[in-house]
C-alpha cells in the first residue's frame, strides 16, 4: 500500500482538529479552575501554540503533547519560556522525548511535594495556611 504526502497532510488536519477538541475536554476535566476564565477560542489558540512548541521540542506523540499542555495549564501557558531550565531540559537530546518530559514533570512534582510538605508542617505548628 502506498501513502502519498498529500494524504498524510489531509489526515493530519483532521486528526489535529479532533485532537484539539479532545484536549479541550481533557483540560476542563483535569484543570477546570485553570481554564474556566478562557473562552473556547482563546483556549484553542493557547492549545495550538502550545502544541507547536511541544513539537518543536520533539514531543511527537499525542500522550507527550497532552502532558505538555497539562503543564502549561497548571504552571502558565508560557511555562517553558518563563523558566529557562524547562526549555533546556526539553531540548536535551541526550534523552528520548519521553524521558525529557518525565524529567521536567518530575521536577515540577518534586517542587509541589516539597511545597505541600512545608505547608503541612506550618499547619501542624499552628501557622494557618
Amino acid at each position: 500500500m502506498r501513502i502519498r504526502d498529500a494524504q498524510v497532510e489531509a489526515l493530519r488536519g483532521v486528526r489535529e482538529t479532533h485532537f484539539v477538541e479532545e484536549l479541550v475536554v481533557h483540560l476542563h476535566t483535569h484543570f477546570p479552575d485553570e481554564v474556566k476564565d478562557l473562552s473556547g477560542d482563546s483556549l484553542r489558540q493557547e492549545l495550538r501554540e502550545g502544541l507547536t512548541r511541544a513539537r518543536g521540542y520533539g514531543l511527537a506523540s499525542g500522550e507527550l503533547q497532552t502532558r505538555f499542555v497539562g503543564l502549561a495549564a497548571l504552571f502558565g501557558w508560557a511555562f517553558d519560556q518563563d523558566e529557562p531550565w524547562v526549555a533546556k531540559a526539553l531540548s536535551d537530546t541526550t534523552f528520548e522525548p519521553g524521558e525529557r518530559m518525565n524529567r521536567v514533570e518530575t521536577r515540577f512534582q518534586r517542587r509541589l511535594e516539597t511545597s505541600a510538605r512545608n505547608a503541612k508542617a506550618r499547619m501542624a505548628f499552628g501557622i494557618e495556611v
Binding site: L11, R15, S61, L74
Partner: protein, 376 residues
C-alpha cells in the same frame, strides 16, 4: 559532625554574626495560601489520563528498537533521599561515553544501549565518596527504548596535584569538601592540613583567610549492564545541627514545639519538632545548608530566629568571642572584631554571671567558660 549553638534572648536584641548568624527574634513566617497538594493530585491524574488520548501526535512514530536497552541509576544520600543534579558518565569504550545529570528524583536513564558491559562513574565525586548499593532488573517496558544512544568522547578528567584554597566568610570545611566532591574527613585528615587541624580544633569553625589543601579527586569506574536499575549512595559525613534555647533565667526551653526551615541550593525544607528536655533542637542538615530559621512559641510569644551557616569565627579570635557572647545573650557583635565598649561590657556581664574575675578582657579562663557554655 555536630554544629552546636546555645542561644538565649538578650535584654536588648541586637542581630549579630554567629556560627549561625543573625540570631534573634524575627516576625513569624508568612502564612501563604497553599494549593500544592491539589495541584499535585491534578498533575498525576492528568498524566495518567494522557495515555488514553487517542488522537493527536505524529502519524508516523519511530519503532521500538528491540535490540536496544536502557539502564537506570538512582543516586541517594546516606538517609536515602534522592540527589538531584549528580553527573554520571557511562562508558562504552575509551572513546565512547554518555553523560548527564540525575533528575529531581535522583534518577538518570541511559537509553539506546546494546547488550554488554559498560563502565559507570560519578565524575564529580571522589572514589571514596560513592558506592553502588545494588541493582535490580528493569521491567521489559522500562528496559525498551526507541532511539540509539548518541555516543561522544568521555569527559576529560583533570589529573592535578593538591590545590590550596583560602577560606572565605560563610565557608567551612564540610561545604568546601562537598563542593569539590571530596569527603570532609578525607580533606581534614590530609597530612598537608595537619597544621590547620592543630590550630582549629573544629573543621567547621575556620577563619576567613585560613588555607585548606584539597587533594586531587580520584575517578572510580564500576562495571554495569543494561536492563538494570542501579542504586548508588553518595557517602556524606553526617551533619547535625544542635541549637539549645534558654530563657532569660538560663533555664532550658524544654518540650517546646518548633518549626524549622532549612535553606539549601534546592529550596527550603520545613519540619516541626519539639525541643528536648535540655532545650535542644536537633536536626539533620547537609553541607550545602546556608541558613536555618527556627520558630518557637505560640501566638503573641512566637519568635523566629535566623541562623546563617559557617559564620562563626574560631574562639581564639575576638570576632569569635563576640559571636558566641552575642548568642549567649550578651550582644557585642557591633564592635566587629574590636575590643570596644560593647564587648567590654558583654565580657564583664558574662564574667560576673559565671563567677569569674570581672576583667572585661577575653582571657583564657573566660574563653574556656564561653566554649563550655556555647558548646563550640
Amino acid at each position: 559532625m555536630a554544629h552546636d549553638i546555645v542561644f538565649k534572648p538578650s535584654a536588648v536584641f541586637d542581630p549579630e554574626r554567629a556560627y549561625f548568624s543573625k540570631c534573634g527574634p524575627r516576625e513569624p513566617p508568612p502564612s501563604p495560601q497553599d494549593s500544592s497538594e491539589a495541584k499535585l493530585t491534578q498533575l498525576k491524574a492528568a498524566k495518567a489520563a494522557a495515555a488514553s488520548i487517542s488522537s493527536g501526535g505524529d502519524v508516523i512514530l519511530p519503532c521500538m528498537k528491540a535490540a536496544l536497552q536502557a539502564l537506570e541509576a538512582t543516586v541517594v544520600d546516606t538517609e536515602g533521599k534522592p540527589l538531584d543534579g549528580i553527573l554520571i558518565e557511562l562508558r562504552k569504550s575509551p572513546t565512547e561515553a554518555l553523560s548527564a545529570r540525575t533528575d529531581a528524583a535522583g534518577t538518570l536513564r541511559f537509553q539506546g544501549l546494546a547488550p554488554g558491559t559498560y563502565q559507570l562513574g560519578l565524575l564529580e565525586l571522589d572514589q571514596d565518596r560513592w558506592e553502588i548499593l545494588g541493582s535490580e532488573p528493569l521491567s521489559a517496558e522500562r528496559a525498551a527504548c526507541r532511539g540509539e544512544a548518541a555516543w561522544t568522547a568521555p569527559r576529560p578528567v583533570a589529573q592535578t596535584g593538591p590545590t590550596s584554597y583560602v577560606i572565605q566568610q560563610g565557608e567551612c570545611l564540610s561545604t568546601l569538601a562537598h563542593l569539590h566532591g571530596l569527603h570532609a574527613d578525607t580533606v581534614w585528615d590530609l597530612p598537608d592540613n595537619r597544621d590547620l587541624k592543630s590550630r582549629r580544633k573544629n573543621k567547621n569553625i575556620l577563619l576567613p583567610g585560613d588555607t585548606v589543601i584539597l587533594p586531587p579527586r580520584q575517578l572510580a569506574l564500576r562495571d554495569v549492564e543494561p536492563s538494570n536499575a542501579y542504586r548508588i549512595r553518595r557517602k556524606d559525613a553526617s551533619e547535625q545541627l544542635r541549637i539549645r534555647f534558654l530563657d532569660r533565667k538560663d533555664r532550658p526551653r524544654g518540650g517546646e514545639s518548633y518549626l524549622i526551615a532549612i535553606d539549601g541550593p534546592n529550596g527550603t525544607e520545613e519540619r516541626t519538632g519539639k525541643t528536648d528536655a535540655d532545650g535542644f533542637v536537633r536536626e539533620s542538615v547537609s553541607a550545602t545548608t546556608t541558613e536555618v530559621r527556627v520558630t518557637l512559641g505560640q501566638d503573641l510569644e512566637r519568635e523566629t530566629f535566623i541562623f546563617r551557616a559557617a559564620h562563626l569565627d574560631p574562639l581564639d579570635t575576638l570576632s569569635g568571642v563576640q559571636g558566641r557572647l552575642t548568642n549567649l545573650g550578651y550582644p557585642c557583635d557591633k564592635d566587629e572584631g574590636k575590643l570596644g565598649a560593647l564587648t567590654r561590657r558583654a565580657l564583664q556581664d558574662f564574667q560576673r554571671d559565671e563567677g569569674l574575675p570581672v576583667t572585661g578582657e577575653p582571657d583564657a579562663s573566660t574563653r574556656a567558660a564561653i566554649e563550655e557554655k556555647h558548646l563550640a
